[in-house]
């Protein structure tokens, strides 16, 4: 079978490409989660300036395609910041640019998930914490966020999987991750287009399945207390 032939014969190029995809995804998911928590907290802060900042950020990201965002960050930013001596290749090249673009993108969606999770917690929980003398921050940290986390978990996992697959779009700026590797292989062997893309899809399927399985275990571990 051609698929198996390609799978075995292309291992030497796909393994580093897979590594690149996984590295990209891990860094992006961490940065995006941090951004998501920060901007999610901004949205529910009742401080007008912070609310506005996060509204604008989320609005822009959700209203424009990831591919265009990537171009703006990789090509656009490089051009307009060149007079200041900025070059992507000084700070890791397209890989760093890809991380910035994807993190900003996923961060906005994570912020909405965090906001939704916090708003789903009964207001009485905050009132009880505050009436004991705890500060807003302490109440968030000890009571609201841990409870919000349970409700957010399925949505977070979903976003993780979406972001993992979105790394394929970053191939466009020349990072040799799974999709880019597929492109390079097919350009050398046009006749093998189908088996090569099936192999690419296969690798994505494996890591996404792995991620959902890990997520399921985590979900089971943390949700034993019920509501």
């Amino acid at each position: 079978m051609e698929f198996l032939d390609v799978l075995t014969s292309s291992v030497n190029t796909f393994i580093p490409a897979l590594g690149q995809t996984v590295r990209l995804a891990i860094v992006v998911l961490i940065v995006a989660t941090v951004l998501g928590v920060i901007f999610g907290l901004f949205t529910v802060s009742n401080i007008k300036v912070l609310e506005l900042i996060s509204k604008i950020y989320i609005g822009i990201i959700r209203g424009t395609p990831l591919l265009v965002q990537t171009f703006i960050i990789y090509y656009g930013l490089a051009q307009s910041l060149r007079p200041l001596g900025f070059q992507w290749k000084d700070i890791g090249g397209p890989f760093t640019a890809g991380i910035v673009a994807l993190s900003l993108n996923a961060g906005a969606y994570m912020a909405e998930i965090v906001r939704g999770g916090i708003e789903a917690v009964d207001v009485g929980q905050m009132e009880a914490a505050r009436s004991l003398g705890l500060s807003y921050g302490k109440a968030m940290q000890k009571i609201i966020l841990p409870q919000a986390f349970f409700t957010m978990l399925p949505a977070i996992i979903n976003q993780f999987i979406i972001t993992l697959k979105d790394t394929s779009l970053i191939s466009i700026i020349g990072i040799r991750e799974l999709t880019q590797n597929g492109k390079i292989l097919t350009s050398n062997a046009v006749a093998k287009s189908m088996p090569i893309w099936l192999v690419v899809a296969f690798y994505y399927l494996v890591i996404c399945t792995l991620l959902s399985q890990i997520a399921k275990i985590v979900e089971r571990k943390v949700s034993h207390r019920g509501k």
């Binding site: 009485g124 009880a128 004991l132 705890l134 000890k142 207390r225």
Partner: protein
């Protein structure tokens, strides 16, 4: 407790010309109340009369729109005061308990004293167990709120407030969300507190309880204090027509 002594005791809470609006709606109109140390005040009145809002203004869960609220000599309507510090001394018990659902019963009680560095973990644990013993829930220390009945939850919520050793306790309809057979166990805990001399302000629909434990009853309607007095004055010799018609409906 002897009623005649109460007026001589220091004033604990002093509310003057309190106003509170929700948008266009004026919920509290020019309310003035004094509560003395060790006094038990029950607020009664129809739904929407502003009882709960008044109570929530006393620890600034609701910000007043006008007037002053003085607790222990501190004006809590002043934006500059540290409200968290004030709240440490004012316990609050809610209609829907509001136990922290992510923490077990013991941690529900020890969280605030430990986080606010009033006690070490060990001291807080010891005090929590004493309090749980007192409200009859010592065997539930490791349970989560979801595993408790309504009455147990509310007794635990009272213990949680008491762990901060407050000078004043506010109760916002503490038995209204309970099954009838669980009301008694919560009221019993409150009666003991009242006997021990805790300053208490209680919003309640339990008229029998109010008559038994209150030093003073305040009847509110439409954001005003319509009438106030001793339980005997209100329940047996009410003067205002609105008080009489309300009591006729609920007694």
């Amino acid at each position: 407790m002897e009623n005649k002594n109460i007026a001589d005791r220091p004033v604990k809470i002093f509310v003057k010309n309190l106003n509170k609006c929700f948008g266009e709606l004026e919920v509290l109109k020019d309310m003035s109340v004094e509560v003395h140390e060790g006094e038990v005040v029950c607020l009664i009145g129809p739904s929407g009369s502003g009882k709960s809002t008044f109570l929530r203004c006393l620890n600034r869960l609701e910000a007043a729109n006008g007037g002053t609220i003085t607790v222990d000599g501190q004006n809590i309507t002043d934006k500059k005061i540290n409200i968290n510090k004030v709240r440490e001394n004012i316990g609050m018990v809610f209609q829907h308990f509001n136990l922290f659902s992510n923490l077990n019963i013991l941690n529900n009680i020890t969280l605030a004293p430990v986080e606010l560095k009033l006690m070490s973990k060990e001291e807080a644990r010891k005090k929590a167990m004493e309090l749980l013993e007192r409200v009859g829930l010592a065997d539930k220390a490791d349970a989560y709120p979801a595993q408790l009945s309504g009455g147990q939850k509310q007794r635990c919520a009272i213990a949680r407030s008491l762990a901060m050793s407050p000078d004043v306790m506010l109760f916002d309809e503490p038995t209204s969300a309970l099954d009838p057979e669980m009301v008694g166990e919560v009221l019993d805990v409150m009666k003991v507190l009242a006997k021990e001399g805790m300053t208490m302000i209680i919003v309640t629909h339990e008229m029998g309880f109010a008559r038994e434990v209150a030093d003073r009853i305040i009847f509110m309607d439409g954001g005003y204090i319509v009438e106030e007095g001793t339980p005997d004055e209100i329940f047996n010799h009410a003067k205002e027509a609105r008080t009489i018609s309300f009591l006729n409906k609920v007694l």
